[in-house]
């Protein structure tokens, strides 16, 4: 990320502090979706934003929020570009971001996990995958590693719905991508 001037660094920080519209505990910087801020002249700025999922409807709200914040900071023209390369990955979420997700009751994605679904064997009713040898998805409420998948898709595309077998609470898991 090129931050040539002090003002660019300041604008990057401002844009990065914008909360995610769907997960307001996270900032855009912590989510890892803000790629670059480029200043052209004194008051024209271009921002590169990458979507989490291709169809993520939050991108438009994020763009508007970034525009509003940067205009309030004296920028006359703000352009937010959507960039797809390199593709966003849950590994781009910062350690503070993961921490905040867990505190918010959402199991954070595992780091360096091979993205994509984990193959699982079908039980008689619910599915309970053989936990990957590396790292189980822990319950964000009680910390138990004994959790099962209820549905691959939850309230948003980026989450799966799971249930804790120890405390019985259902919870969202920010699934690896």
């Amino acid at each position: 990320m090129v931050t040539a001037t002090a003002l660019e660094a300041e604008l990057l920080e401002l844009a990065g502090a914008v909360p995610d519209p769907e997960l307001p505990v996270l900032t855009l910087r912590e989510l890892g979706v803000l790629r670059a801020v480029r200043l052209h002249g004194g008051d024209t700025v271009e921002v590169d934003l990458t979507p989490t999922y291709t169809g993520c409807p939050a991108v438009e709200a994020m763009s508007l929020d970034i525009e509003r914040v940067l205009r309030a900071h004296g920028m006359r023209e703000v352009t937010v570009r959507t960039v797809l390369t390199p593709a966003w990955s849950t590994d781009d979420i910062t350690p503070e971001g993961r921490q905040k997700l867990a505190e918010f009751g959402i199991a954070p994605p595992r780091v360096g996990h091979d993205s994509g679904p984990v193959p699982l064997a079908l039980g008689p009713t619910r599915t309970r995958e053989p936990q990957s040898p590396a790292e189980p998805v822990r319950c964000p409420h009680c910390g138990s590693a004994e959790t099962e998948l209820l549905s691959r898709f939850s309230s948003t595309a980026c989450k799966a719905l799971r249930r804790c077998l120890a405390c019985r609470e259902p919870f969202d898991h920010f699934k690896e991508l």
């Binding site: 999922y53 291709t54 169809g55 352009t79 390199p86 691959r152 309230s155 991508l177």
Partner: protein, 250 residues
């Protein structure tokens, strides 16, 4: 879709093969619309959410792809049936839940193979393919798990799943017709598709359909703009609002 959305502003590189952008974009758009028809009708709440999320991923892909070919709203809402280049498979009505799952299994297996190929090229579709292939892996997994559950479930679910796989089989040959402007090993993809689908159906105690994989038409199919009868009615519903109220926005 709004013309002012951020995706619409993504600069279109000069050398985008329009036919290919329409083929890929129309597949995603049409299947997204079909899956959206499940809203309020899915058998359980989790599936309501899952199918809507898959539809949303596909809509996101469609927006990027159609924007490479032109104005996304004009392309989605103002083209006639014959101008759409999607596979006939994706326009088939939802049918029962097993039908939808069979369509998902056939299509997501294909899309995962195709996007994997495109992600490895230097072409204009590589960025989208590299991003979307990770989403499609979840779509395929969803379809596979349901195929196993229905195929290896009750007598009724098995029978319905088999019927769905049989009914849609004749739309699967079209997927491997080379598309102008797409660099891919179509023969190799077809072999890998058959291998993958055969494996899933086998584990689901289902029989791989034996019938022909294309219809009797020699003039082509969806990729040539020739569609099946239900597609016109789907388009009428999808385009009705925009055509009645040109330029309407939320």
């Amino acid at each position: 879709m709004t013309a002012t959305g951020p995706t619409a502003r993504t600069a279109a590189p000069a050398a985008v093969p329009v036919t290919a952008a329409l083929a890929l974009g129309d597949d995603a758009l049409v299947l997204s619309h079909r899956l959206g028809e499940w809203a309020g009708h899915a058998p359980v709440l989790e599936e309501e959410v899952a199918l809507a999320n898959i539809a949303l991923d596909l809509l996101g892909q469609a927006r990027v792809l159609l924007s490479l070919a032109g104005d996304e709203d004009e392309l989605a809402f103002l083209r006639e049936e014959r101008a759409f280049r999607n596979l006939q498979l994706v326009e088939q009505p939802n049918g029962d839940f097993a039908h939808t799952i069979a369509r998902q299994l056939y299509f997501s297996t294909y899309q995962q193979l195709l996007y994997t190929e495109l992600a490895g090229t230097e072409g204009p579709f590589a960025p989208l393919a590299a991003k979307a292939v990770k989403e499609v892996a979840y779509h395929r997994d969803h379809a596979e798990q349901w195929t196993l559950r229905l195929g290896d479930g009750t007598e009724t679910s098995h029978e319905r799943m088999q019927r769905a796989c049989d009914a849609l089989w004749r739309f699967t040959g079209e997927m491997f017709q080379p598309v102008e402007g797409l660099e891919a090993d179509w023969r190799g993809m077809e072999d890998r598709w058959l291998e993958s689908v055969t494996d899933v159906l086998g584990r689901a105690s289902l029989t791989v359909p034996q019938g022909p994989r294309t219809g009797a038409w020699s003039a082509g199919a969806g990729r040539q703009g020739l569609h099946t009868e239900p597609f016109g009615r789907m388009l009428a519903e999808m385009q009705h609002l925009h055509r009645s109220h040109p330029g309407a926005a939320w």
